[in-house]
Symmetry: C2
DNA sequence: GGTTCAATTCAACGTTTCATGAGTAGTTGA
DNA sequence: TCAACTACTCATGAAACGTTGAATTGAACC
């Protein structure tokens, strides 16, 4: 994944509502979810929802598909994975401690400090 | 790592100059780097540098230490790891494809498309 | 004490982002 | 075609962000 796209993804994820959106949609998997259902689930107004969905889709984190009246949204799990891969490999140069914290739970420095 | 802190980290990283800062400092490791040297390396003015360093430090991604006239900055690798861990585990519910893309290189959807 | 270097803080400005509500476009079924 | 429904777009104002240059603080050296 290119640098500019990673920045777009980070920017898109750096918002409470959009992190909730991704969290919800990841759990729905490939099947995805209709925009209206998402709005009801998360308590977002139609325009706010549309705004945030568009931001995530433009960043490449979501895909949408019209099905009759509804528009079904689903996460692009590969895009999320690639973004994280960029952070780990390119940005952090596969730093072992970053990997450890990422794979494990807390990280070495948290363990060494009481 | 808490949700609000993850949002702060994402927000801090979603900027070109700050991603460069982290990339540079990760490669310096524990030793870190003086603010002036960072500015020369990345071609940032003093106030811009200071602004971005403060943003990263406030998000908990950097630590600073005054040494004589200089202020030495170093990344908190555990914090980066924990942020990524949150994205993988909490936000993406340890989705296998996200993990695969993150550990591997490209991800399944990129492989299936030519 | 005074000077110099390093780094931060501050105010100002323009830009971008966000939330809201109203209005618009596309789809369905009678 | 019409009404009902779903989802999107637009205009507005408020808030946050990013850049700049000047002023300030802190430490070291004469």
């Amino acid at each position: 994944m290119e640098r500019s796209k990673v920045l777009a993804c980070l920017s898109a994820l750096a918002h409470e509502a959009r992190l909730d959106l991704v969290r919800l949609l990841v759990r729905r998997g490939e099947a995805g979810m209709a925009a209206g259902d998402i709005g009801r689930e998360l308590g977002l107004t139609a325009s706010r929802l549309s705004f945030h969905l568009a931001a995530l889709e433009q960043a490449g984190l979501l895909r949408s598909q019209r099905v009759s009246r509804n528009v079904i949204y689903a996460v692009d799990t590969a895009a999320i994975g690639q973004m994280i891969h960029y952070l780990l490999a390119d940005c952090c140069a596969d730093h072992p401690e970053v990997r450890a914290c990422c794979d494990g739970a807390r990280g070495l420095s948290s363990l060494s400090a009481p």
